[in-house]
């Protein structure tokens, strides 16, 4: 082992962009490559988790400038889906590294102008409430015996785009209270270069929502859990499975063929993937699509920041939905909802996109 070729010489100065323990974890085994959607598209090491960690290491030591065009491009080309995490035997927390990377890099001119209005809109609870006017989403205090033991999170964009989701969730569990003063969870901030603000918003939401926070959005649940602690947060499907007292009745109508799109952060961040499948299998014919666990390309703001790449990632999913000739594709995240809805409309497929809550409430 020739010393002059040492890649990990301790002499290198660190710039403090990344938490050393996070950055040192990767041993470059490459087990993450096949799990990465952008590596699958390009088959180029530079667009893989291992390649990106090597880029992070290079800016940390100053070997590459942080505004090196390849570094900037890869920080944005990454979907942030974290599919590399469950397959990583070394336990690299790639999602956390990506947040630190963007937090450092996506400032000033490196920041997409498309981000500002989106983050501004959800930055204050008052604005988020305004977005939800007219108020078609769920509202009101719980009627159960123990109000305040669990609260339903309304989300920011979800309450505007898909207000029926929270109403359905409330229908499924009337014991959930829905405090009206709640804002955004901060996930969008945290994933787009405003890590501290994202954490602050999560803490504020934690104060606004008493008890267990039940969410209908996989992305929000993972972010909230990372800030407030796993025990405070339940994504709706795990909440329903945990609390289920009586199994749902089988629908009288012919059983629907239902597929499912995992929420990346719910699956890869919180390890929740069995529960939604279990719920679907109770009410219809569950069809596991080959790419069910892979990112659909929505990836938070990605579909807006990089529409072309987002569509390329989505293509395979649409092919599979068409081939399986599904009646319904169920989602547990508003971003996936919008992404699949638009893709299905473009392709003129017959499949209907429904949030799992809508699907369950409708069947019931």
């Amino acid at each position: 082992m020739t010393p002059q070729t040492s890649a990990q010489e301790p002499a290198a100065e660190r710039r403090g962009i990344f938490t050393p323990e996070l950055l040192d974890r990767c041993i470059s085994c490459g087990f993450c490559l096949p799990a990465c959607p952008t590596y699958s598209l390009t088959r180029d090491e530079t667009s893989s988790p291992r390649g990106r960690i090597n880029l992070m290491r290079a800016i940390e030591t100053g070997e590459l400038a942080e505004d090196d065009p390849t570094v900037v491009e890869e920080s944005s080309f990454c979907l942030g889906c974290r599919a590399c995490e469950p397959v990583c035997p070394a336990g690299v927390q790639y999602g956390a590294l990506l947040e630190e990377w963007r937090d450092h890099l996506w400032q000033g001119k490196q920041r997409s102008p498309k981000l500002r209005p989106m983050l501004w809109a959800v930055d204050a609870p008052s604005r988020v409430r305004l977005m939800g006017v007219p108020r078609r989403h769920a509202k009101g205090a719980a009627d159960g015996p123990d109000p305040g033991s669990a609260s339903l999170m309304l989300g920011c964009f979800e309450r505007v785009l898909y207000p029926r989701v929270s109403r359905s969730a409330r229908e499924l569990d009337p014991d959930l209270s829905v405090p009206s003063s709640q804002g955004c969870c901060g996930a969008l901030h945290a994933h787009n270069g405003e890590l501290e603000r994202g954490n602050e918003l999560a803490r504020e939401l934690g104060e606004a929502l008493p008890g267990t926070i039940v969410t209908t959005s996989g992305g929000c649940s993972a972010h909230l859990a990372s800030v407030l602690g796993r025990e405070r947060v339940r994504e709706l499907s795990e909440w329903l499975v945990e609390r289920e007292e009586k199994p749902l009745e089988q629908p009288a109508a012919p059983r629907l063929r239902i597929g499912f799109q995992d929420s990346c952060h719910l699956r890869n961040g919180l390890g929740v993937w069995k529960e939604p499948r279990e719920l679907i299998a109770r009410i219809g014919e569950y069809v596991e699509l080959p790419s069910a666990a892979a990112c659909c390309g929505a990836a938070g703001t990605y579909a807006i920041l990089r529409p072309e790449d987002s569509a390329r990632v989505l293509d395979k999913h649409l092919d599979e939905i068409a081939e399986a000739d599904l009646d319904v594709i169920a989602v547990v995240n508003p971003g996936c909802y919008r992404q699949l809805q638009q893709g299905i409309k473009r392709r003129k497929l017959r499949t209907k996109v429904l949030h799992l809550a809508e699907l369950m409430a409708g069947v019931r």
Partner: protein
């Protein structure tokens, strides 16, 4: 962004003419990500990264590189563990991941024909769909490419019963360093027309030619398989159980072991309920028809108990078995949970001496004050002692290298080898002569010169 010389710039333009401008990268960021593979502490500085899509493109790139005496390092997914795909002499990294067509699986001829960028798991799954088996299954099979597997002659968990990659290479198409395309072997089990160049290229580590098509042998898949686990007080007990199993006339498909350090880190990753208090775990398995499996599994369980196994269990389902085997594959990367730097070796001894070697490694670890986790393919004598340490501790790094030198020396004395399956690459070149002698090394250089007269293919490694 580029810092290359004007002549290198002209080379970039020429390469773009051959493969298209989308398939050449010379930006500093891309060059950095192709400067390493999975080998710790090894790093090169390539000038260009080229992604050809056809044999003709590979040939043209090599012709151009040969004319200009530019080093070319072929690469697949970069899971190499001996620095074999690290471009120590700069030049071109030739990435074959775009050549990823699985052209054919022939049930009649029991062969697969594919391009080098097909991943090992993709072939294994496609073969399984036809009830066929491609036996080589290195730990990196989900990521690694077949081109890389053949170039390194990878082993895996089934080697004891089924052999290694070289036993499944029937034919290759390859491009010589000078750009000529040759074909060797083909779809035949019997074919003695000429030197066996396919076998020569298998394990040539990218130093002789660039393989562009592989014809691989498949087997009918076994009807069923069984997997069991036995825990022992220490690794030497497990090693003695291995000898007892093999001496009892069984040829198992799996005989893998992990010591206590590895059990702990694997369990930490996989959460499959391994007993982390045990000193060693032996995973044993058999495939075939159900009757033979039941018989062999019972005999192996008995052999383990006879050597003092504290606990023996047979997996209740294929899912449980696969969980255990997947966890075993993750042993190396899991070890990095202990410390960020994992230096792994691959010394292999005749299987009859495995207990002796295990004890020697433990003694070396103690003497050099190193934390060594040992796992490996117990049935074929292939051990993976892995030092886990803090890269900032330069004295520990030095002691680790001393420890490995001693382990290699002992392996050679026992009639073993410095590398069972990871390859010589850069890391073990200096131990080669000790194992093979000067005459052998000189012959390697003459063979290399016949294939690659200007020494452009993966220079500084085998045959250099």
């Amino acid at each position: 962004m580029r810092t290359a010389t004007p002549s290198a710039d002209a080379l970039g333009g020429r390469l773009e003419e051959i493969v298209g401008s989308d398939h050449v990268r010379s930006d500093a960021g891309a060059l950095l990500t192709f400067s390493t593979d999975a080998t710790p502490l090894e790093r090169g500085h390539p000038d260009h990264v080229v992604f050809p899509a056809t044999t003709a493109e590979v040939a043209e790139v090599l012709r151009v590189a040969n004319e200009r005496r530019i080093p070319v390092v072929p690469r697949g997914s970069g899971t190499n563990l001996s620095g074999g795909t690290v471009p120590h002499h700069g030049g071109i990294v030739l990435v074959l991941t775009r050549m990823n067509r699985l052209k054919e699986i022939s049930v009649d001829d029991l062969v697969a024909v594919c391009e080098p960028g097909v991943r090992t798991i993709e072939l294994a799954q496609a073969a399984a769909a036809e009830r066929l088996l491609f036996p080589p299954d290195p730990g990196s099979q989900t990521t690694a490419t077949l081109g890389g597997n053949v170039a390194e002659c990878s082993g895996g968990l089934r080697a004891l019963k089924y052999g290694i990659t070289r036993d499944y290479v029937l034919g290759v198409e390859a491009v010589l360093a000078t750009g000529e395309v040759i074909r060797s072997g083909g779809r035949l089990v019997k074919d003695v027309a000429g030197y066996d160049l396919s076998r020569l290229l298998c394990g040539s580590e990218g130093t002789l030619a660039v393989m562009t098509e592989l014809t691989l042998r498949l087997l009918p898949a076994a009807e069923a398989s069984g997997t069991g686990m036995a825990y022992f007080g220490d690794l030497a007990d497990a090693a003695r159980a291995v000898s007892r199993v093999l001496a009892s006339g069984i040829l198992p498909v799996t005989l893998e072991f992990l010591d206590q350090v590895c059990i702990g880190s694997v369990e930490d990753y996989a959460h499959i309920g391994l007993d982390t208090s045990a000193g060693a775990l032996l995973i044993f398995g058999q495939d075939g028809d159900q009757h033979a499996i039941d018989n062999d599994m019972a005999r192996m369980a008995e052999a383990c108990q006879a050597e003092g196994a504290t606990q023996v269990r047979i997996a209740g389902s294929p899912a449980e078995a696969s969980e255990v085997l997947e966890a075993r594959r993750a042993a190396l990367p899991s070890l990095s949970r202990l410390e960020p730097l994992t230096l792994l070796e691959d010394a292999t001894v005749p299987r009859s001496r495995i207990a002796e070697m295990v004890e020697y490694i433990q003694e070396v670890a103690l003497r050099h004050e190193l934390k060594i986790g040992t796992f490996g393919h117990a049935g074929d004598g292939n051990l993976h002692p892995t030092v886990v340490l803090d890269p900032a501790d330069s004295d520990a790094v030095r002691r680790a290298h001393e420890a490995f030198a001693e382990i290699f020396g002992r392996a050679i004395e026992m009639g073993g080898t410095i590398t069972g399956e990871h390859g010589v690459g850069m890391v073990k070149l200096k131990y080669m002569q000790r194992q093979h002698g000067a005459e052998y090394m000189a012959l390697l250089r003459r063979i290399k010169a016949a294939f690659d007269p200007n020494g452009i293919l993966n220079p500084g490694k085998l045959g250099s």
